[in-house]
């Protein structure tokens, strides 16, 4: 374990360093990333204003505010893609280095994305989170989130993260087939935004679709941890949704290893 840490830690560290080096533009991107939740916030305010009963899709207006910002926090920490990295490595041919060196390519990519996650935790997640809790207590009068919800949220969030990166690794294998990952990535983000509960809570979908969506891995990426945070699950349900997350981690891990094994067998890298 210590040996592993020694090998993969530099990947994490480098990612952190390069983020810190380009601070100016990173702050601008952070400001932009906050547009989304604020547009949603105003939109939902208007939507609740137009509804006769105070509960939509099982959420009150106050809970919806928490949902919108916790979704932002969750997806900032969870959705840290590695497919882009893979496509870059494939196009540059540097993927061959991954095969030559005695390191696990997937693990090295995940370490880098963990570095990015650490950075995002401090800029801006922690500030948005504290701000949200203060807003919750002073304006929404909801009380502070109970500590057990926060702990369960962190457990669920960690699994969400693993589901996402393992999924994105599988998705990244498309880079061996097409060179236009930009378009494919847009399609992926659009679909994920919808199926993971990022754009709208899964509970707004018609009952039949809900049943299908909760069994796909995507709802486990954002919707599950946020609902855990909101305390929407009973004890038994929590065990069930966490178990479901765990199963997806295993399935996606196995799928990723299988795809990687197949693709690297027939890989041809030109030049060098």
């Amino acid at each position: 374990m210590r040996q592993k840490l020694k090998i993969y830690w530099p990947f994490l560290e480098n990612q952190l360093k390069s983020n810190l080096a380009y601070q100016g533009s990173f702050y601008l991107f952070i400001v932009c990333s906050l547009f989304g939740p604020f547009i949603s916030y105003y939109l939902w305010m208007a939507i609740y204003g137009g509804s006769s009963d105070g509960v939509l899709g099982g959420l009150t207006q106050e809970q919806m505010v928490v949902y919108v910002f916790m979704t932002y926090i969750t997806s900032s920490l969870v959705m840290i893609g590695i497919a882009e990295e893979i496509s870059y490595d494939v196009m540059e041919g540097s993927v061959v280095m991954a095969l030559l060196k005695p390191i696990d390519y997937r693990l090295s990519l995940i370490s880098r994305s963990l570095g990015e996650m650490l950075y995002r935790f401090f800029a801006p997640v922690i500030f948005v989170w504290i701000g949200l809790e203060i807003y919750k207590v002073t304006v929404l009068k909801m009380g502070v989130t109970p500590i057990q919800n926060i702990l369960l949220y962190i457990v669920s969030l960690s699994m969400s993260y693993l589901i996402y990166v393992l999924f994105d690794f599988c998705f990244g294998m498309f880079a061996f087939v097409t060179t236009y990952m930009f378009g494919l990535d847009m399609a992926k983000s659009a679909l994920l935004g919808f199926l993971s509960g990022q754009i709208i809570p899964i509970s707004f979908f018609p009952a039949v679709l809900q049943k299908v969506f909760v069994f796909l891995p995507f709802s486990s990426m954002v919707y599950t941890p946020v609902m855990v945070y909101l305390g929407k699950y009973s004890g038994e349900e929590i065990a069930f949704v966490l178990g479901r997350q765990f199963i997806w981690i295993i399935l996606l891990y196995v799928l990723g290893s299988y795809l990687w094994g197949r693709i690297t067998k027939r890989l041809v890298v030109l030049g060098g």
């Binding site: 105003y42 494919l184 399609a187 707004f204």
Partner: protein, 267 residues
């Protein structure tokens, strides 16, 4: 006249070059199209799901919001199709010194930059926009008359000029700060606010997207002319046209000043 003819011929040359690249990679073309199509369509699905629960949103009904949303996509798509190369200006033409090659040719610099690329991904946005407009028109929420069709075309054109002006302005900053991609990206993202009625936002945001980065004039305000009776065409589409020209002239002046301040990367 002679000048116009020359530019028309040059544009044909550039465009035919561009079609060669599309034919070369048909798969990429479809991937990009689907990518942008899906991104826009999820926004509409959101509205459908929400309107399952409520009858009106800030005094607008579903058909009207779909009209506004679709209306917003068409100028965006036209600008995206024609002037996508401005992103390259913002990200790397200046910092890499690649702008040199434009300086050497005997042709208008702005024309050269935008002629160089057509972005077929934009067809995804144009497709979504047109479909939504047709769907909402079938509900009879807009009076279709000769005057309205003319005003619609004028408004769409003015809207795309607003988009282009905003992009040109922020991309031109690259001449001084070398890379203006993040700044341009920030400004461009404000367009997302304009997909919904501006009435839902607080005053500060409303002012910003109406007068500073005037995306509200691209869709929501002109759309209101078609949707709400007794809204004056001049105060919506008229102002839109004036703003678009004013912004473009300003952005173009900044661009020209930028090209004078340009220093090559050297090697």
């Amino acid at each position: 006249m002679k000048v116009l003819k020359r530019y028309a011929r040059l544009y044909r040359v550039f465009v035919s070059q561009f079609f060669k690249t599309i034919v070369q990679s048909k798969a990429n073309f479809f991937i990009g199209l689907i990518g942008f199509f899906l991104t826009q369509i999820t926004g509409i699905l959101f509205l459908y799901l929400v309107f399952e629960q409520i009858p009106v949103l800030a005094d607008w009904n579903l058909d009207q919001l779909i009209f506004i949303y679709g209306f917003a996509q068409i100028p965006r798509g036209i600008d995206h199709l024609l002037t996508d190369n401005l992103w390259m200006l913002a990200w790397n033409l200046v910092v890499n010194g690649k702008f040199d090659r434009y300086m050497l040719r005997p042709m208008n610099l702005y024309m050269q930059v935008i002629f160089e690329k057509l972005q077929p991904d934009a067809l995804g946005e144009l497709l979504v926009g047109s479909i939504l407009i047709v769907i909402s028109l079938q509900k009879g929420i807009v009076i279709i008359s000769g005057v309205n069709i003319l005003l619609f075309v004028v408004s769409v054109l003015a809207g795309s000029v607003i988009y282009t002006a905003i992009k040109l302005l922020f991309a031109s900053f690259a001449f001084w700060i070398k890379v203006s991609g993040p700044v341009l990206y920030t400004a461009y993202q404000f367009a997302d606010f304009a997909k919904y009625p501006t009435g839902i936002y607080v005053k500060g945001v409303r002012f910003l997207i109406t007068w500073i980065i005037p995306f509200a004039f691209v869709a929501y305000l002109p759309a209101a002319y078609f949707l709400v009776p007794n809204v004056n065409a001049f105060s919506t589409i008229g102002v839109e046209c004036i703003l678009s020209v004013a912004f473009f002239v300003f952005a173009y002046a900044v661009f020209i000043a930028g090209t004078k301040a340009y220093e090559s990367a050297g090697n």
